[in-house]
Amino acid sequence: MTREWAPAPASRERLPTHPEPSSLVDILERVLDKGIVVAGDIRVDLLDIELLTIRLRLLIASVDRAKEMGIDWWEHDPTLSSGARDLAAENRQLRERIGALEAGRTAGSGSRARRAESAVTPPPRSRNSSQ
């Protein structure tokens, strides 16, 4: 099969390439959402798994960005870690973090708010929580 190739636009250089090995997100996107689906003999309910993987994909794709924005629910989600969470300690840390953010905002600097937030030690991560 032959196709006409349009000439590359002269106004812009070719974009830099980012060769990467198959990322987990790309694999999950395919093995969970694509491919042949047949009933089989054993019915596996994928609804809960879909919920988890949606969160997992967001997690893998933007952990740093999310943490920068103060999103780190996976460090507190009991379904992703074994054992019970110390809610009192968690509340205290959240209050400290809010206080630090508000202090940073009053000072008028966004970057200062981020530094204040990172000064609050995150709770210890359980072995089962996702990376």
């Binding site: 070719r14 694999i27 999950l28 093995v31 988890l52 794709a61």
Partner: protein, 291 residues
């Protein structure tokens, strides 16, 4: 017909299905282990074969499979191993990958699947022959797009087009009006940015779709700004002639640049997960500009 390396059929067994291929030489799968640590084998019936693994039913009941797939670490291990087996099968010839998790009780049940849908699966394998799946992701910065291709009013203008900072001080009404005009301009610019970002993705997809045998577009993965590249404007899979994969990747980069994207990632070659349902299952690519 039984594969010579297959374990003896027992009354209580569980078969994990990875993919469907033509019946033929699967010697390349010898020694490969699957998600349950078992031997990968080809289960043949007529012109087709299913790439399968016998797993321990005591460890892979419905509840146990669901439990494993619900654990992030196990899900990753199973997903990667399943994919590795599919890749190995695809290296030997046209392959229809299966989604997680397809399990049968006996070999005969799997052969029944191959026999019932023989014509359909043969048709799909023929369509995939000599072709490969390629993934394209692209990002654009809405602010840059508005600056370079937009028609919205600049956000720093007040009523009448004068710079907002030059509004007469002291009058509460005038400063309020200036603020409102500025806010409206900002909102207009944001909406314009979203519209242009969607159009950027649509343009790239349309260009690549014209060249590919088939195309499948996923919804954008994450609409929040992501680092310096902006928002994801395209996340799609294209079925292309294997011999033209490199040229397709080059053209994708050029198309993305021409449409105003700042970053494009080409992944692949992939086994044809996105096209395993065959040519008749595809819908026309939707424009996302209206969403």
């Amino acid at each position: 017909m039984y594969d010579a390396a297959a374990p003896p059929l027992t009354a209580h067994e569980t078969i994990w299905v990875y993919a469907i291929t033509h019946s033929g030489d699967h010697a390349g799968l010898t020694g490969l282990r699957g998600i349950g640590g078992g031997q990968i084998r080809a289960l043949r019936s007529g012109p087709l074969a299913a790439v399968v693994e016998s797993v321990d039913p005591g460890v892979f009941s419905a509840e146990q499979i669901q439990g494993r797939l619900s654990d992030p670490a196990e899900l990753e291990a199973i997903a990667r191993r399943h994919h590795d087996v599919v890749v190995a099968a695809a290296a030997l010839g046209p392959t229809l990958p299966f989604r997680l998790a397809t399990v049968y009780r006996t070999d005969d049940r799997v052969r029944g699947l191959l026999d019932q849908r023989r014509d359909e699966f043969c048709h799909r394998l023929g369509w995939l022959t000599g072709r490969t799946e390629c993934g394209i992701k692209a990002w654009a910065d809405p602010d840059v797009l508005v600056r370079e291709r937009g028609t919205a009013e600049p956000a720093d203008r007040g009523p009448g087009g004068r710079p907002a900072s030059r509004e007469a001080p002291g009058s509460a009404d005038q400063s309020g009006a200036a603020y409102l005009f500025r806010r409206r301009a900002e909102l207009t610019a944001r909406v314009e940015g979203q519209r242009l970002a969607a159009r950027c993705g649509d343009e790239i997809h349309a260009a690549l779709g014209r060249l590919a045998v088939a195309a499948h577009r996923h919804p954008p993965r994450d609409s929040r700004t992501d680092g310096d590249e902006g928002v994801m404007v395209l996340n799609a899979a294209y079925l292309v002639e294997s011999a033209q994969l490199a040229e397709f990747a080059e053209f994708a980069q050029a198309s993305a640049a021409g449409a105003g994207a700042l970053k494009v990632v080409v992944t692949g070659p992939w086994p044809a997960y996105s096209f395993a349902d065959g040519p008749d299952a595809l819908t026309c690519p939707r424009s996302l500009a209206l969403t």
